[in-house]
């Protein structure tokens, strides 16, 4: 078997969508396989920053060998990424992790719920999922990707905490107000939001997949720093740690134990 390795991608585009959020499109120079919900580990060039940065795959063209990535400038690493110019190279490892399960049914009601930088991976998911897709997106001030979602979903609703766009509030407000009775929920976003989504879905006995985020080191399942609690039995104490990077980031939402 050929061994995997760190690869170099050529940057086709790297531009600000909002003052804080950037879009990067890269060309890996070969065909590839990727599942929505998987992520890439991007490397910083500056040697003082050792650890790769996990960034979700927002869109992928498997034949062309291109990834679209959406990242928020948070610290030194993502700041470094903003300085990369067209045609420069960036090193990456991946796709990594276990992505979403793609159900094959056309007439299911699907609810997709995203918050902040949890929104990007839901785009490729929305493209690939069959069924009747409704998308709820929450942001602080400015929305991203709503146009892209509108192309592939039946309905896209936006909430912002500042009220700048869509309704003033969170995705949970959208969820409470709309009269949704989905067959299945897919969600990615901040922990608080996922917890609320989980509670809402549990109450209604709706199956769901949640994509989690945790600080990582290796990204390939070896170091055990990125664990989350996953139910493994009927009792509340029956949980075990699983690795967000390898067993996830997408988990059966029913089994995720939030603190």
């Amino acid at each position: 078997m050929e061994k995997k390795n760190i690869e170099k991608a050529r940057i086709l585009k790297n531009q600000a969508l909002t003052p804080e959020i950037y879009e990067m499109v890269v060309d890996v120079g070969k065909t590839l396989d990727a599942v929505p919900g998987q992520f890439l580990n991007l490397y910083c060039k500056d040697g003082s920053r050792l650890l790769p940065r996990p960034i979700s795959i927002c869109e992928v063209d498997e034949k062309m060998g291109t990834f679209r990535l959406i990242y928020k400038v948070l610290g030194k690493g993502t700041e470094e990424f903003t300085t990369l110019k067209e045609n420069e190279k960036i090193e990456y490892l991946g796709p990594l992790g276990t992505g979403f399960t793609l159900e094959e049914s056309d007439n299911k009601e699907i609810l997709i719920i995203g918050g902040g930088v949890g929104v990007p991976p839901l785009l490729e998911l929305s493209k690939r999922l069959k069924g009747k897709k409704r998308v709820l997106l929450g942001f602080e001030k400015e929305s991203i990707l709503t146009g892209d979602f509108k192309k592939v979903a039946r309905e896209v609703t936006v909430a912002t905490t500042t009220g700048t766009e869509g309704i003033k509030g969170t995705v949970m407000d959208l969820l409470e107000e709309g009269e949704y009775v989905p067959d299945r929920i897919y969600s990615c976003g901040p922990k608080g939001m996922l917890k609320a989504v989980q509670a809402w879905a549990r109450e209604r006995n709706i199956p769901m997949e949640l994509s989690l985020e945790e600080r990582m080191a290796c990204g390939i399942g070896a170091c055990l720093v990125c664990t989350c609690k996953i139910k493994e039995g009927p009792h509340i104490e029956d949980w075990n740690y699983q690795r967000v990077c390898k067993d996830g980031p997408v988990f059966n939402g029913e089994e995720v134990v939030f603190e």
Binding site: M1, A217, V225, T227
Partner: protein, 315 residues
């Protein structure tokens, strides 16, 4: 001198056991190897060192368990592991399918716990035991054994008495006198010393004004700590007779060579695996090329070669 056409000899003898080469992963950074199979051929390694395993499953600490620091990282995994039974059932059979040596890293909170693990491993096909008396991430046991001379002596002696395989004792750098600790372990019968485990450190999140790690403190690893690790290996090389495995920030073949020159018989690569899962292959190839270019027949000639000659001939 290398005979023309011959490949340089990377094999080293560690406590009587021959290794293909002196390069192996550091415990806890490589799982049991399975996750790295996609990236490298485990049979190319001098040895596989497994994550720490205890007598019963440990859940480890809460997250966040990792924080990046300048040229390094902090972890507070806290020796999460599924216990020795699971390990023997799942990991040993897997490793046996590869042509490599196996070193099992052993965690414990008391001498009895360590001894139990070692006994269970007695009839297993493992080549070395590595006794971790240096984990900074657990409250009882762990590092306490590695920072107290008498405890280091006692735990080594009792574990050695129970052990079938050669016993490497893994030391903590968080001590005033590393030589004294190593000598205590040597006196108690250790077959080798590996060092260093992580330095105890922490990081503050200035946004939340709280420690980044849920556990407050964590173990510092990576290139940042290399100078401390190298110094300790160099200090020990003159003071103990049992072999030394050098660990700490090794990321390139040059780093590995520095440790060998300082007196290490073998080296472990930890944090560097997280940045580049193939890094050990590059280190092995780099050492091989170096021997070729420098026309050195065997890497064993270089072990401890960096010590000043004035020390051999004090005048």
């Amino acid at each position: 001198m290398i005979s023309p056409g011959k490949r340089p000899n990377l094999t080293v003898k560690l406590s009587g056991v021959e290794l293909k080469n002196p390069v192996m992963p550091a415990s806890g950074t490589f799982g049991s190897g399975r996750e790295f199979e996609e990236y490298l051929d485990l049979s190319r390694l001098g040895m596989v060192v497994t994550k720490g395993v205890a007598d019963v499953p440990w859940k480890g600490n809460s997250t966040p368990r990792v924080a990046e620091t300048y040229g390094g990282m902090l972890n507070s995994v806290g020796l999460q592991n599924p216990g020795i039974e699971h390990f023997i059932r799942e990991d040993i059979p897997f490793l046996q399918t590869h042509d490599t040596r196996i070193m099992v890293n052993i965690a414990g909170r008391s001498i009895e716990e360590y001894v139990r693990v070692v006994r269970v491993l007695g009839n297993q096909p493992v080549d070395f035991l590595e006794l971790n008396i240096s984990c900074p991430n657990i409250k009882e046991g762990g590092v306490a054994f590695g920072t107290d001379l008498d405890m280091a002596y006692q735990v080594t002696k009792k574990v050695k008495a129970a052990a079938t395989q050669p016993l490497i004792v893994k030391l903590s750098p968080n001590v005033t006198d590393i030589v004294a600790v190593a000598k205590a372990c040597e006196a108690a019968g250790a077959d080798g010393i590996s060092l260093i485990n992580t330095l105890l450190g922490m990081k503050m999140d200035i946004k939340t004004r709280r420690p980044v790690l849920a556990n407050t403190f964590g173990g510092l690893s990576g290139p940042a700590i290399k100078p401390v690790a190298l110094r300790m290996v160099y200090q020990l090389a003159k003071e103990i007779k049992i072999p030394i495995i050098g660990i700490g920030g090794i990321s390139t073949w040059e780093d590995a060579l520095e440790f060998i020159l300082a007196g290490a018989t073998a080296v472990q690569v930890g944090t560097a695996n997280f940045r580049n899962p193939r890094v050990m292959m590059e280190i092995i190839e780099g050492l091989e090329n170096y021997l070729k270019e420098e026309n050195i027949d065997s890497i064993e000639e270089l072990i401890g070669a960096g010590h000043e000659s004035k020390e051999e001939n004090p005048c």
